[in-house]
């Protein structure tokens, strides 16, 4: 066992994000001289009164606006670190505990990009709620660091630690606006069910360790090969199958696959909109990355009954159930946030189609590429969509209504750009051609057909057609339903949100119209991954 200092370069994005988070925590406490001044956002009623009477930052609170820019800077640095290593050859880090390859780097870049845009979305939102605190950005940075590590980990212990780093920060972020029932409900449900999922993951890891005597994915793969040839200790094949099923169940919770999806609507609904956007984009990217790594690197031996053909069946059924129920349950939702939550479940189903396609070695590079493309495009789209929701939420607080569809009526007259952006994101989520969502679905379904999973692909296309209904309903409300009240989004500090939304829209269009330029970027990633 040796230690190579260069290994630290391999996890550079995570290191940058962690140091940035610590810096933010320190800046928060050493800047804040008025500690006693109620470190929590006021209740909605008070907030409205405050904004109505005193739009300036009151003198008792220090100016914390730099924190968003600091966090955004750290995220940009992490993005740069991930992108600068993109073309490098894959190397194993820390004696096989982690891996720096194109796959991990693309996921890290996606996470850092999502974080960067989320900082812009959160800035205006938090400033308006007078809730800007260093803890918010520090927690998002910690969580992003966990996500980057998760995408690179090749050891079950490292995976578990990164998973907890990511999740614990997110539990706290869900309850960030802690007054009121909904944030508490969101955080509590997420925490209890998330801990349960972690326990299931751990049980799967323990069984895998029991069967192979190692937590390294490479050693587990060796154990799987041994079990396939009838060697290995008796009963280890059964243990390994239980292990892969439990590990999959643990991550099916994190990616919100049916039947592990119960928490999603309440959590997405109760958490602040910028957090929800970041959560939807980042957690999905990281959890899918690690799920794929476990399944392909650990249990991907084609000659084994535990290998691809064993877990492919699990994933196929998960994907079919998730696509069906995600789209079905989204239809009756009138709250846009809940609709997006169910849509996030449905998208987990489409992504699982790509994972299922990885079960067959020949279609693996295409499926990996499709998965990465899908994760990036979904990230940009969903952060944009929740960015618009965040802006509309400001209005809800003033008007006192829920985020019902009726709040969106007539948006196009007051805010044409916002309406256009929201429509673009809805079209992309639905998978309509000139957008990123279409190309993503195309690549994923194509890889599924290559892998011989044509029925699953057809089922996916059918469910996504059903999805058009509820996505386009938002567009209908935005453009065609006359507005009831003439209240607009409160002015000021929308510049940062505009930047975020514009960049999301550009990415969505760019990935939709010129997917080739992006595919070339992730080509190296898919080639280097898997056997």
């Amino acid at each position: 066992m040796t230690f190579n200092a260069n290994d630290l370069l391999g996890v550079l994005p995570a290191i940058i994000l962690s140091i940035g988070a610590l810096l933010l925590l320190m800046s928060e406490v050493f800047l804040s001289t008025t500690r006693a001044a109620a470190q929590a956002p006021a209740s909605p009623g008070e907030r409205v009164a405050q904004t109505a009477t005193a739009p300036e930052i009151s003198s008792t609170q220090p100016d914390r606006r730099y924190q968003a820019w600091l966090a955004a800077g750290v995220a940009a640095l992490g993005l740069w670190a991930a992108l600068s290593q993109l073309g490098d050859p894959a190397i194993s880090l820390f004696n096989g505990a982690a891996m720096s390859d194109g796959f991990g780097r693309v996921v890290a870049a996606t996470v850092c990009g999502a974080l960067l845009i989320s900082c812009f979305v959160a800035f205006g939102y938090l400033e308006w709620l007078r809730a800007t605190r260093g803890e918010f950005y520090a927690l998002t940075l910690f969580s992003a660091a966990g996500m980057c590590l998760l995408a690179q980990a090749t050891d079950l212990i490292v995976i578990f630690v990164s998973l907890e780093v990511m999740s614990l920060a997110l539990y706290a972020l869900c309850a960030y606006l802690r007054r009121g029932k909904r944030p508490a409900e969101a955080a509590f449900k997420y925490f209890i069910l998330g801990s349960f999922a972690s326990a299931i993951f751990l049980y799967g890891a323990a069984l895998g360790f029991g069967a192979t005597g190692s937590t390294r994915l490479a050693d587990i793969a060796a154990g799987v090969r041994l079990a396939a040839t009838g060697g290995g200790p008796g009963g280890s094949a059964g243990l390994l199958f239980a292990s892969v099923a439990l590990l999959t169940a643990g991550f099916a919770f994190k990616v919100a696959a049916v039947p592990f999806h119960m928490w999603v609507p309440d959590v997405y609904d109760g958490a602040p909109a910028p957090v929800t956007g970041f959560m939807a984009a980042g957690v999905k990217a990281a959890a899918f990355a690690v799920l794929v790594r476990i399944l392909v690197s650990g249990f991907g031996d084609p000659s084994s009954s535990i290998g691809p053909h064993g877990w492919q069946q699990i994933i196929v059924w998960l994907a079919a159930l998730t696509m069906f129920f995600g789209n079905l349950l989204a239809v009756p939702q009138r709250s846009v946030k809940r609709m997006l939550a169910y849509s996030s479940i449905a998208h987990a189903g489409y992504l699982l189609v790509a994972v299922a396609a990885m079960g067959n070695a020949p279609s693996r590079p295409d499926a990996t590429q499709g998965l990465l493309f899908y994760l990036a495009s979904y990230g940009a789209t969903v952060i944009g969509a929740f960015g618009v929701v965040a802006l509309i939420e400001r209005k809800f607080a003033l008007a006192g209504t829920g985020d019902d569809l009726s709040s969106w009526a007539g948006l196009s007259e007051r805010h044409p750009a916002l309406a256009a952006a929201m429509s673009l994101f809805m079209l992309s989520l639905a998978g309509v051609p000139p957008t990123a969502g279409f190309m993503a679905k195309l690549t994923v379904f194509r890889s599924a057909i290559e892998a011989g999973l044509a029925p699953l692909a057809i089922f996916g296309v059918l469910t996504s057609v059903a999805g058009l209904y509820y996505y386009l309903r938002v567009v209908v409300y935005v453009y065609m339903v006359p507005e009831g009240r003439a209240d607009s989004v409160p002015g000021g500090r929308v510049l940062s949100a505009s930047i975020a939304l514009a960049s999301c829209a550009l990415i969505v269009l760019w990935m939709g119209i010129m997917p080739g330029s992006f595919s070339a970027m992730i080509q190296s990633a898919s080639g280097s991954f898997g056997r």
Binding site: T2, F3, E28, A211, G213, P233, G234, G235
Partner: protein, 155 residues
């Protein structure tokens, strides 16, 4: 000193993979992988049988004379006062949380301290040293944070 967890000395836990795979390669017949855990299963069964049996016979055979004094809640011999469902200040939870953080730190530091000499022999001395220093520095930043936030003040 002989370390119990070195291979070949038995150890705390059976080492299923490496030991067994080797045995398998040498052609020794292996029965189920779970066999070493059989005594634990027997112990569990025995414990269960004992619990059920003792409770059963105590219920059936033992005399049962219930009085008011026996039924009263026992609290160190003095009469009970107040509502048992009293609300506690959230400060206790905060202290418990902070305690766990530093408790876990010490959990890591002890084995590190015990192993540092061995690690130095393996050429990992400075690595282990800086690893622990960065870990403690991170926790120290956390301590500074909670201190400045006022979490250490009781009032």
């Amino acid at each position: 000193m002989r370390r119990v967890d070195t291979p070949g000395t038995g150890g705390y836990f059976p080492r299923p993979q490496t030991a067994r795979l080797k045995a398998n390669d040498e052609g020794i017949a292996m029965d189920s992988y779970l066999t070493p855990y059989l005594p634990i299963l027997v112990l569990l069964l025995l414990a269960g049988v004992m619990c059920v049996a003792i409770t059963f016979f105590a219920t059936v055979l033992g005399p049962r004379r219930i009085t008011n004094i026996k039924e009263a809640a026992f609290e160190c011999g003095s009469p009970t006062t107040g509502d048992p469902h009293a609300r506690h200040s959230v400060k206790f939870f905060l202290v418990a949380l902070l305690f766990i953080v530093f408790d876990v730190e010490s959990v890591f530091i002890y084995p590190w301290g015990a192993l540092l000499r061995d690690l130095n022999g393996d050429g990992l001395g400075w690595f282990a040293y800086f690893e622990m220093m960065s870990f403690m520095a991170t926790l120290a930043i956390g301590l500074v944070y909670v201190w400045r936030k006022g979490a250490l003040e009781w009032t």
